[in-house]
Symmetry: C2
Subunit: 98 residues, 2 copies
């Protein structure tokens, strides 16, 4: 398969509640219906298997870099990102060609 | 789809060469042939679209948590991890249920 993948990992600030994370996840899960450039969208909270992990992952697949940029800059997506910002302690991301 | 996903992002130490990263990538790409529990395996270097990203991503899919643990603890995988360690400046990982 060819394509372009966006991967992002977050750690949440101390005191972030499960309800807050669930709300973020619900907002994120609405994005594929709003942004047709999203080909695949997967997210989840860390399963607690290993020590020292981050807290939350998003893996989003696109046909190509341009389709990813549409997602990145989409206003609905930006609004979700803005709503997440108070919860984010750290963020690591990579975009790569599939 | 159900399953279990392992996501890991790396930044490399300063001075890491493209040849070194290519060698790591080649070793990683051999793992699905060695570890049948790997259902999907994708990796790549950051495409340079955004500032502040990490350098390299691996996304590995498994049927379930136990299959992931087989991968995590497989000796061939551990040998690749050991060979990568001198290059790793930072690492962030999440495992989550698909």
């Amino acid at each position: 398969m060819t394509g372009f993948r966006h991967v992002v990992l977050f750690t949440w600030v101390e005191g972030t509640t499960t309800a807050q994370v669930d709300e973020v996840a619900a907002k994120l899960r609405e994005l594929p219906a709003v942004i047709p450039e999203i080909r695949g969208y997967s997210l989840g909270s860390d399963a607690g298997v290993n020590p020292g992990t981050a807290d939350f992952a998003i893996v989003a697949d696109f046909a190509d870099r341009d389709a990813y940029l549409v997602y990145r800059d989409n206003p609905t997506h930006r609004a979700v990102v803005d709503s997440m910002k108070p919860l984010i302690a750290s963020r690591a991301a990579v975009q790569y060609e599939l």
